[in-house]
Symmetry: C2
Subunit: 306 residues, 2 copies
Amino acid sequence: MKTQRIAGVLSPVVTPFKADLSPDPERFVRQCRWLLSQNVGLAVFGTNSEANSLSTDEKIELLDRLVGAGLDPARMMPGTGCCALSDSVRLTAHAVKQGCGGVLMLPPFYYKGVSDDGLFRNFAEIIERVGEAGLRIYLYHIPPVSQVPITLALIERLLEAYPGTVAGVKDSSGDWNNTKAMLDQFGKSGFDVFPGAETFLLAGMRHGGAGCISATANVNPAAIAHLYDTWQAADADAQQKRLDEIRGTFAKYPMIPALKAAAAHWSGIAEWATVRPPLVALTRDQAASLVADPTQRGFDMPGLRG
Amino acid sequence: MKTQRIAGVLSPVVTPFKADLSPDPERFVRQCRWLLSQNVGLAVFGTNSEANSLSTDEKIELLDRLVGAGLDPARMMPGTGCCALSDSVRLTAHAVKQGCGGVLMLPPFYYKGVSDDGLFRNFAEIIERVGEAGLRIYLYHIPPVSQVPITLALIERLLEAYPGTVAGVKDSSGDWNNTKAMLDQFGKSGFDVFPGAETFLLAGMRHGGAGCISATANVNPAAIAHLYDTWQAADADAQQKRLDEIRGTFAKYPMIPALKAAAAHWSGIAEWATVRPPLVALTRDQAASLVADPTQRGFDMPGLRG
C-alpha cells in the first residue's frame, strides 16, 4: 500500500448491474474512471454500492477489473468488512495485495448487542491474519443500517493496539455530535475522520476532518470535491448550502435506487437503474420527478456514457 | 430432494471450531450423527450455528462432509439465505444437489426497512434461478436478530406464487401470537410452522405445528424429541415445564457460547468452547455455573466424545 494517506471526497461507488442482475464490469470501470477525473476517490463496496448484495468472489472480480484497467489503487478504499471473519480476511488481504490505499471495514453485522470485546477481537484477527504493515483500516460506523456501532471506547482500544493500521473512520451516524467527538478525541492521533455525507463536509473540515465519503458523490462529484478544495474560501457556506439542497432531493427517495435512476437518466443507459433485491428500483414517476427537480438543473454525467 | 416433508425437532447445529478458528469437520460430523441418533434433524447453518460467521465456501465444505460421511440429507435443512443473492442461489442450489430435505432461508439482512416487494423478489429470484421442482424453502423469521421480518402478507404472496416450494417457516419471533397467526392462516395450506424454540413446541403441536427448531436441541435433544413424539400423552405439560427449566438455564447466558460451553464440558473437549468473533466465549466462572446448575443434572453428550 502507498504511504500517502487517503483524503478528500470519496464515493461509495454504485455498482452497475446488467438486466440479469450480474455486475457490469465495463460500466463499473467507466463510472470509477469518471469519478477519479472529478477528483473523487473510490470507496467501492460501500453501503451504496450494494456491497452486501455481492458475494466475495464478485467483489474480488470487480476490484481486479478496476486495477487491471489502470485505475490508481492508491485512490481506492474498498469495503472489506463482512459478517464472516473468513470473508473479511480474504477480501482485505486481496485489497492490500492490489495496493489499495485503505479499506473501509464494517463490523460483522448479523448478531446484535455484541460486546466491544467481540468486535475488538474481530478487527484484531483480521489485522493479524492479513499481517501486512501497509494495511490501512477505516472503521465504518453506520448504526442505522448495521445496527452494530463502533464506539469511541472501541476505537481507542484499536488505536492503542494497532496504531497506524487503524487509520480512520467513516461516520455515517448522521449525528454531528458523534462526528465531532471522534474528531476531538482522535483527530490528533493520525486518525482520519470522514463524515458519511457531504452534509458535514464543511463542519468536518473546520474541525480537522479528512473529507467525506458520500452517496451523492456518485452523481454530484465535482461540486462536492470543489468544496473540499476550497473550504476556506469566502463562499464555502454558500457551497455547502447548495450541496445540501441537491442531497435533499435525493433524500426524498430511497437513496440507492435514486442514485441509479439519476445515473440511468444522465447516462442514457436504462440498465443503470437496476438494483439487486431486496432493493427496488424507483418507479417511472419517481425517477421522472427526481430528475425534473430544480436542484438537478445543470447536472450531467458524461463520463457514464459510451 | 425427497418428497417426504421434514417434521419433528431440528437443531440449528452449533459449528465446532479449532483453536485457529477454522471449522472442525470431524467434530461437526460427530455432533450431527449424535443428533440424528437422538431423533433430531439437522438445521445446520442456522443462527446458533454461527452460519453468518462462515463463508459460503466453508458452508459448502461442511455440508459436503456431512453427506460424504453418510448422514441422511433428507434430515437436513441447511440455512442458505445470505445477504447476497448470488450466495443464496449458490448455496441453495448446492443443498438441492446434495438431496437436502429443505433449506432454511433468512431474508437478506443488511438493508433495513426494505419492502415486501423487494423481499418477494429476493425469494422469487432464488427459486427461479435454482429452478428445481424438489426445492423446499422454509422461511426464517427472526426479527430480533435479522431486523428484517417475514410478514404474513409476504408469506401469502410467496405461497400463491410458489406453492409446494415455499414449504414452511421457522418463527423465532419469540411471540406466540405471531406463531399462532401463521398456523391459523397457513397451516392448512401445506405450510409447516416450526416455532424457533421448544418453548412453544407443545402449544405449536396443539395448533397443528410441525415440530420445532431450537438452539437447546443441541444439548438436550432426546427430551425435546420425546415431547414431540408424545405430545398427546398425559405428561406432556410436565415434559414442557421441564424443557422450559433447562432452556431457562441456558438463557441466563449468551446462548451460543453457553451451548458450546456445555458441549465442551460434557464432551471433555475444551476446544468445543471456541466461538468466532464477534461472539465471545463464556468466562470460566460462567461456564462452571452453567454446568453446575441443578437443571443440568443427568445431562450427558456421549456422542460428542471420541
